[in-house]
Assembly symmetry: C2
């Protein structure tokens, strides 16, 4: 899809090495992020060019995407370092896989909890939007203008430093006000 300046030999069996910019585009990360992963030992270039350019092969894309996905799942780079270390120091592949499976199981639970939290907040947003929609319909007829209230108090017309309450809202059930609305004028 994306027409880049990256080497694209469509029928090549062994693809040309990727530069860091190619890897960044292919993985959806920034060059700086890739440098950072390297500093933390999560990734290494296969080689350097004569001009000290980092050179990667195609598997690096898989690796960076893997880092990105685990990070999106809420793992810190330090935690990802530990997974890498578990893999590299395990006495056997089977043992390493067992350790990683345990980490993934824990992450699965956390992710399900996070989805539930976001779904709850999604519902709060929906009901808050519905609640705020009614403000629009009441505005022209019932909203007090600032001069009406301030002139009552001291006779001078000033711009208030926070909006006036909508009197129509006074008639509403304040208890039914969603938290995402109540928080705005709390304080």
């Amino acid at each position: 899809m994306a027409s880049s300046s990256a080497p694209n030999n469509a029928s090549a069996s062994k693809s040309a090495p990727l530069q860091v910019g190619d890897l960044a585009r292919a993985s959806g990360k920034t060059v700086r992020a890739i440098h950072h992963y390297e500093e933390l030992g999560l990734l290494r270039p296969d080689a350097r060019s004569k001009g000290r350019f980092r050179l990667y092969d195609a598997s690096a894309v898989t690796r960076v995407r893997w880092i990105g996905k685990l990070h999106e799942l809420g793992m810190s780079l330090t935690e990802i370092q530990k997974v890498v270390a578990a893999w590299e120091t395990a006495p056997s592949a089977g043992r390493a896989m067992a350790e990683i499976r345990a980490v993934y199981r824990a992450k699965l639970e956390e992710t399900r909890a996070q989805v539930a939290r976001l779904r709850a907040l999604e519902g709060e947003l929906e009901s808050s939007i519905l609640y705020l929609d009614t403000c629009e319909t009441c505005e022209p007829e019932f909203l007090l203008d600032s001069s009406a209230l301030t002139s009552k108090k001291n006779g001078s017309v000033t711009v208030p430093n926070r909006p006036l309450e909508c009197p129509a809202c006074e008639l509403r059930d304040r208890e039914a006000e969603p938290d995402l609305v109540a928080g705005i004028h709390a304080q």
Copy 2:
């Protein structure tokens, strides 16, 4: 539920002011976080005690929870500052509500997208765990031990610095390997 040392007058109509620690417990945030919100102008204590202790009323709990929920939805504190500023400087409550409604609609879309991303990653975790489960069953019979391979190469038995491939896995469809598994041994 939580028996705290906070003032609890069960039948009081006007509740006693909250100290910052009470507010922290009630809102699920740290004292430091509340200080930080104050530094950014998102929150102000109603008063100070003689000893300069911050004193809040019950609405501060609503406010801090509101900040926390918007933050959980992915808003930066700077963005939340802007919502507060929109409220405080809007010419009318109706106008302010309209602005905030627009922000909430945008957040709703982003949240739905985020839920979709997490759901996709949840599926990847599930299939990765299933995939890794089969490693357990194959381990005792098929796993090569380290000495078998290293002695083939140079006759000396050393601890390998990364686990050996499981030969049973060689028989599998490599293309079907989930990204969350492939990323581990990519590189």
